[in-house]
């Protein structure tokens, strides 16, 4: 009797644990992804061994200088440039190795919003067709696709009757980006990859588009990968941030933490480069020195060591692993900063 009881309770707790894990299983799991470009002679690694997990309703920001591999990472996740090695799982299903044909039915579940809102819309199409096309290709009837397209256009704050029959060149950058978001959302994706979605917009319009993306995420419980070079944009919209340098993640953690207590010197420098909107402030924060090394021939050991004010011999010899000190963000550095510590 007692044994049965314990078995019961054990089973019960198992079930509740299982239910727990169901909700916490990440939608997107990226493991040790590596992207190589070029052919035999001139090969270089754009992304070398990046891992992260993304849950539904969560936004992960990816920040870094241009050329650090953040866009390549986004494309590798989408399998638009299939990664050279590593694993990308969507809802537990492995995507690498599916091939073009195998990916096609999965594609609708991961959508993308690109940087240039004008070039990302086919200039010869009408808005309503741009938004609905993916559905038609997916097997929906023309009428169905139009209805859904009108629905999402309304959702992104555009009047389908007024804009549906027009062409992209009749709209501003911000409006085009709304259309691009509607086009992605029409597919009802689980994951949305935003590759610098506001980088080419005016600051005033940036806020509107960011709000729209935040609304979309909240309403549809989206998992969002938000790629940007702009740290202030990332902090407003992301739950967690991954900082990339030369193809690797140097620090990853909750946005608040990264912002208040950065552990990696590079993160600190990035934060210090955000301008202070006050003419009275004297900016004496140390900036970054030197040039970004060639990704074709990265420095040995820690890739950041050539520009790091704290670099020592160890940094040249040993690659620092991405590890989380107790209660801190995960950081790949031999000499992470203490909370509140500054450089220089």
């Amino acid at each position: 009797m007692t044994t049965a009881n314990t078995a019961d309770t054990a089973e019960g707790s198992d079930a509740s644990e299982a239910a727990d894990t169901v909700t916490t299983v990440p939608v997107l799991e990226v493991e040790d992804v590596r992207v190589d470009y070029g052919t035999r002679g001139s090969r270089f690694t754009a992304v070398s061994g990046v891992s992260f997990a993304l849950h539904a309703g969560e936004t992960l920001g990816v920040v870094g200088e241009s050329g650090c591999g953040k866009s390549s990472l986004g494309r590798a996740v989408l399998q638009l440039t299939p990664p050279t090695s590593g694993s990308v799982r969507l809802g537990g299903r492995e995507l690498t190795g599916l091939g073009r044909r195998g990916m096609r039915p999965v594609r609708r579940r991961m959508q993308v919003v690109l940087q240039d809102p004008v070039s990302s819309l086919n200039p010869r199409r009408r808005i309503i067709d741009i938004v609905g096309e993916g559905l038609v290709v997916g097997g929906a009837s023309k009428g169905e696709a139009r209805r859904r397209a009108a629905e999402v256009l309304r959702e992104v704050g555009m009047d389908p009757d007024a804009v549906g029959h027009r062409h992209p060149h009749e709209f501003s950058g911000g409006q085009c980006q709304r259309v691009a978001i509607a086009r992605a959302m029409a597919m009802r994706p689980q994951v949305l990859v935003c590759d610098e979605p506001v980088a080419s917009l005016d600051v005033s319009v940036q806020a509107q588009v960011l709000n729209l993306l935040a609304d979309m995420k909240a309403e549809h419980h989206l998992a969002m990968l938000f790629i940007s070079h702009d740290l202030s944009v990332v902090t407003t919209i992301c739950d967690r941030v991954a900082v990339m340098y030369l193809g690797t993640v140097v620090e990853i953690g909750p946005t608040e933490e990264i912002h208040r207590r950065p552990a990696h010197p590079y993160t600190r420098i990035l934060l210090d480069s955000v301008p202070v909107p006050d003419p009275e402030t004297v900016d004496d924060r140390p900036g970054i020195q030197g040039e970004l090394p060639s990704p074709g021939n990265p420095p040995s050991g820690c890739r950041f060591r050539t520009r790091c004010p704290r670099a020592q011999q160890l940094c040249a010899d040993v690659v620092p692993p991405l590890a989380a000190p107790a209660g801190r963000t995960a950081v790949a550095c031999h000499f992470p900063l203490e909370p509140g510590e500054t450089l220089g």
Partner: protein
Amino acid sequence: MKRFLTRRVPHVLAVLVIVTFATSALIDLLPGSAASAVLGENATAAQIAEFNARFGLDAPLIPRYLAWIGHALQGDLGLSIRLGTPVSGLVAERIPVTGEIALLAILVTVIVAVPLAARAADRESGIVDRIANGLSSALVAVPAFVMAVLLVYVLSLELGLLPVAGWSPLDAGLGENLRFLIMPVLTLALVEIPVMYRVLRADLLTNLREDFVLAARARGMSRSYVMLRHVLRPSSFSLITMIGLTVGRLLGGTVIVEQIYGLPGLGSLVISSISSKDITVVQGVVVVVAVIYVFLNLVVDLCYTLLDPRVKVAR
């Protein structure tokens, strides 16, 4: 549409006036005279004066041109100086030959070049791309007259498949007609295909790099769908431009091919008329070709507005 035409028609008329005026002026510019070419070296001054009066060659340039254009507008292109028959009849006789060759050549060019360019651009640096690039470079370097001789050598002399030269009109039977057509058409197409292939391939590659292509692929569209709907369609712009220019060029430019294969087309008519100073025929052919050319370009421009909604607004 109305605005388009009101803007373009004066433009077209100006081009035609300039072209016809220039050919009228040829008589004054060319060395020698039509009269001495027809009547011979020993003609008397009276004979020459009588000849010039008969063909209106004695009048000064401007009145001569005005008289010619007055008649031309009524469909009368004058009499051939050499043959004494109406020019319009001569031209009408020759147009079907040149027209058939030019149209077939452009058809073959498009049928070969478009799918080839699409396939090559789709897999850049793939095997098809590399072979097609190599072949097109080689073909671009071969001029039409070399190509014609080469084809005659291989297809007629070595393999004995086709007649070396000659012509059989369409109403004497399609089979015979085609036998004489194959080599001229092939010669022209082999010269045009590499040009069209290269321009179109480059254009397609540019379009393939656009973000909307990436976005289309991200929505799960197949390769062929993306190529057809998102890449080839914007490229139809340059394709239509090329077709318009090529047809125009072929109409006037079949001269060499017609000469080599002994075809009774506009090209050979012009050649023989120039050498015999039959200026009225030259003028007639030039005006007909110019009208066709200008008209084709008008159609091409019209196609732009149909293909690209942005052009309409810009106008």
